[in-house]
Structures are given as structure tokens and as C-alpha cells.
């Protein structure tokens, strides 16, 4: 369980995250939605200790993220931010192998190698496993980075806009892979998503933010409603339910 208590972040007078208290259950997929600048990424960065908070505490599985040893946290929780850029010349396999660092500190064991091969297989990265990252398309690179984070094999996986740069086929495949991983291995995914329909169709729990606060939280059925969406984005939409009971938001026209 991720326990967020009275967490705030401010830069001088401007408050980006404003006193958020939130309890995210373990297991399953949690999505965070909201307009640009609502504080979603900042919240995710604070939960994952990448950014110090101005006030409040975050515990992940009972570990206080600001106090627990970083290498212990790295075996419990992983994070991928947007816009990943690496200076070193790495192949996809090198990058994915870094996911094992918290476990083996760079000395790969047979078990690590098995893990790396398996993850590369899941993400269908075999054709370019030995290509350098700077020779890949943005979408392929994004998949390689997500593969690294999954190779870390942590209970909690935090992803900031994981579907960035992915075409619709790969976006769907990615979400299905997350779903399967969450169901099979009991992992917890916490994701910032921009496509509200992915949030609606795949998550167990949705958190909607506006101006640094959580304005709605609950199952997609609670949060994906025209009224709530107007609240969060200030946009009028219609929500349709498919025969399978999925809620789709129409906002294109």
C-alpha cells in the first residue's frame, strides 16, 4: 500500500501539490488523470523520492521514502519519468540489464540473465535487442525504458505517461501487458495517463487531480462521468457505456 499523508510541494509562493492525503491499495492498476499542470507528475516524483516534498510523508509498503535506504527502496518501487535521455551509448539489452542493478549491483547472475531475456520477450524487443538506443524510434525507445523498469521486478511500478510516443497498437499492447503483470504477479501499477479512455478501460482505481488537489478518486465508474470530467478538465463530454460495461468518453468534437 502507498500511503500519502498531507503531502505538499511549493516553489516559492506557487503551490504545485497542495496537501494531498491519499491511500493507494496494493495490487492492480491505479491511474492518475488531470489537466496539464495539475501536479500529477510532481506527486509521482515525490512518491518515488525523485523530488523532495515541502511537507508531508509518503510510505510505500511501510517504508518512509525519504528515510529508507535508497537501494532497499529500489527493490520495492520503480519509477519511470517522461523524457528519458541517456548520454552513454547503450544497447537495448544493456538498458534492460540495468533493471537488475538493485538486485545484483551490476554483477549479473544466471537468474538475472533469464529475467532480462524474458522481459525483452514480453516487450517484443528481440529484433532490436542489440541495437543502440540512439538508433531506435521514439516508441521503440519508450518500450525499452519501460522494459528496464519492469526488469527491476518491484512490487510497485510508477510510470509517468508510459504511453508517450506509442502508436495505438503498442499502446494497447502495453496496457494489456501491465494488466496481465498486475493480475499474475500481484504488482501495483501507478500511472499518470493522458488518454482518459485508457484510464477508464484498464484501471481499478482512478485519481483525478486539479490545481494540486485530488478532486475525485474511486473506481472508473465513479470518476469517469461527464460531471466529474467537467470538474477536472473544464470540458463538456459525453460518456458512453459499451456492451461490455466499459465507459468511453467522447471528447474529440
Amino acid at each position: 500500500m502507498i500511503d500519502v499523508k498531507n503531502v505538499s510541494k511549493s516553489y516559492g509562493p506557487s503551490v504545485v501539490v497542495d496537501d494531498i492525503t491519499l491511500r493507494l491499495p496494493a495490487g492492480g492498476m491505479i491511474s492518475i488523470v488531470g489537466a496539464n499542470g495539475a501536479g500529477k507528475s510532481t506527486l509521482l516524483s515525490m512518491i518515488s523520492r525523485l523530488l523532495p516534498m515541502s511537507a508531508g510523508t509518503v510510505t510505500v509498503h511501510g517504508l518512509d521514502v525519504t528515510k529508507a535506504p535508497s537501494d532497499e527502496l529500489a527493490r520495492r518501487l520503480s519509477i519511470l519519468r517522461q523524457d528519458n535521455h541517456v548520454v552513454s551509448r547503450l544497447t537495448v539489452r544493456d538498458l534492460v540489464a540495468f533493471g537488475r542493478y538493485p538486485h545484483s549491483k551490476g554483477r549479473l547472475t544466471e537468474a538475472d540473465r533469464g529475467h532480462i531475456d524474458r522481459v525483452i520477450g514480453y516487450f517484443e524487443l528481440e529484433p532490436f535487442a542489440d541495437r543502440f538506443l540512439d538508433e531506435l524510434s521514439g516508441g521503440q525507445r519508450q518500450r525499452a525504458f519501460i522494459a528496464m523498469v519492469l526488469c527491476q521486478d518491484t512490487d510497485y511500478i510508477l510510470l509517468d505517461e508510459p504511453l508517450n510516443n506509442l502508436d495505438i497498437k503498442h499502446a494497447v499492447a502495453m496496457m494489456k501487458l501491465f494488466r496481465r503483470t498486475a493480475d499474475t504477479f500481484g504488482k501495483t501499477f501507478v500511472m499518470v495517463l493522458h488518454d482518459i479512455n485508457f484510464a477508464s478501460c484498464y484501471s481499478d482505481h482512478t485519481v483525478a487531480m486539479r490545481d494540486g488537489r485530488v478532486v475525485h478518486a474511486g473506481t472508473p465508474a465513479d470518476v469517469i462521468t461527464p460531471a466529474a470530467i467537467r470538474d477536472v478538465y473544464g470540458l463538456d463530454t459525453t460518456v458512453q457505456e459499451t456492451p461490455e460495461g466499459r465507459r468511453i468518453v467522447h471528447y474529440y468534437v
Binding site: 518515488s48 523520492r49 525523485l50 523530488l51 523532495p52 535506504p69 535508497s70 537501494d71 532497499e72 527502496l73 529500489a74 527493490r75 520503480s78 519509477i79 519511470l80 519519468r81 528519458n84 535521455h85 541517456v86 548520454v87 552513454s88 551509448r89 547503450l90 544497447t91 544493456d94 540495468f98 533493471g99 542493478y101 538493485p102 549491483k105 551490476g106 554483477r107 542489440d130 541495437r131 543502440f132 540512439d134 538508433e135 523498469v149 527491476q152
Partner: protein, 322 residues
Amino acid sequence: MLHSTSVKRPAVVLAGLAALAAVAVALYMTVGVRGDWGFVLAFRGMKLATMIVVGYAVAVSTVLFQTVVGNRILTPAIMGFDALYGLLQSMLVFFLGAAFVAAWDPRLRFAVEVAVMVIFSVTLYRWLFSGGLRSLHLLMLVGIVFGVLFRSLMHFLNRIIDPTDFLVVQDRLFASFNRPDPGLLAASALTVLAVSVVGLRWLRAFDVLALGRDAAVNLGVDHRRMVTGLLLMVAVLVSVSTALVGPITFLGLLVANLAYMLVPSHRHALVLPGAVLVAVTTLVGGQVVLERVFAFDTALSVVIEFVGGLFFLFLLVRGFAR
């Protein structure tokens, strides 16, 4: 970037570089020997050892610095090190006089210079890092400003200094391997060795650090501590090389980037030896050319700055400054 998808074996490349370095060393030690071999070998051996220590210090410090800042065009010189070294020399001569400074034990001067440079960089670093996020960019900016400040102060002192004293300063400010000092060399070698032993434990963590701060923290590296330690090591290494032979600004840039291009690996365990071998080859080979072709008419740093400057422009044009 060099366009080669075929993964050359790093070991082969390293072996090739080692062979090149060995050839350079052999040439340096044997070409044009006349008279007593024992004397010549001992005399040249001293200069060779100086070049190896300096090459090692410059190569390792540049690669580690670039790992910290995540940019392959910035070098420790950008932090104002060379400029501080120059200012320090000028101040010593200005306030104490050339004759007095010349009478100092070189080891004492070395210790003072290393201490001042390390204190400077650690103070600068600590001061900047208490500021919070994105401070590395600020560090670089302040480094450039400090560099200009130190250089201006140095030029000011040099303008009002006694002309004879100025010649002494000017001599110190051009890198030269022609006045080796056994005591100083031994002290430098020991310092470099101590730094390397510390760094060896962190070799694999360096690879993670090169992924950038976020990824390194995600993988459980104590980023703050690691960066402090690395900057300290860089400070000591840069001090050693500048104190031994004076500033060679572009050598680090040249050898680090050549190593990245030649060694097909991201691992510091392979890139660092590659950079050291390139540095030794460049320095020793350059000295051979200098002594045999130009007959000592110029300083090695002039040759290296010229080649390094061209290389720097090449890197800029090719878009390496990301």
C-alpha cells in the same frame, strides 16, 4: 555518433590501444639515443612516468566529470580549475616574489596547490547543492563565471607584476614535461593511486550514474553522496595534473571523446582504461613528434591545444553537445 551497429569487442579495442601506447613508449625511450644508455633511459623514464601519471589523471578526471554532468563536451576546465591554477601561480609570485617561490620545496607547493583546489571545488559544490534541484547546470554556469573572474584577476596581476617575475609565471602556465621532479612525481603517483583505489569500488555505480539522476535514484544509487565523492576525486586528479605540468585544457576532451568513440561499451571498467591508453599515446606520441620533428621548438600543450581545439569544433559541428 559513429555509425556502426556491429558490436566490436571492447577487449580487442583495448588491446589495440595498449599496443599503440606501447609503441609510443618504445619509440620515446629509444629513438635517437646517443651515448650512455643508462643515463638516457633514467632521464627519459622520469619524463615518461610524468606523462603517464598526467595522462591517467586527465583521462580519468574528464570521463568521471562527464559522467556526473551527463554531457560530453564539458570538462573540469569549465569549473574554472585551470584559471584558478593560473591565478594561484600569479599570486604566489606576485606576493612572495619569483626567487622566494623558486626556493620552495616543490612538494610543499604541490600540497598547497592541491589543497587549495580541492577546498575551492568542494566549497563551490556544497554551496551550490544546498540550493536544490537542477544545480549542476548552475554549477557549470558559476564555473564559467569563476573561470572568467580568475582569469581576469590573473591577467590583472600579470600586468602589474615585475617583468622578470612575469616570465616565471608564464613559463609555469604552459604545460611542459621538460622539468620533471622526482619528489613531486612520487607524491602525485601516490595521490592518483589512492583516488583510484577508492574509485574502484564504485566502478559499476558509475555506469548507473551515467543514466542520469532520475534513473540512478530509481536504481537505488545514493546520488548526492556519489556526486560529492566523484567531484572530490575529479578535483584531486585535476590538481595533480595541473600541479605537475600546468593546464592542458583540451587533452581531457580529446581523449575522453576518442575513448567513447573507440571503445564500444558504456561500462566505465572499459571506457576508463581506454581513455587512459589514448591519453598516454597522445602525450608520449606528441612528445616524440615534438622532440624529433620540431626539435623542442614548441611546448607540447601548444600542439595538444591546437589538435584539441580542432576536435572540439568538430564535436560541436557534429552535434555532440546535446
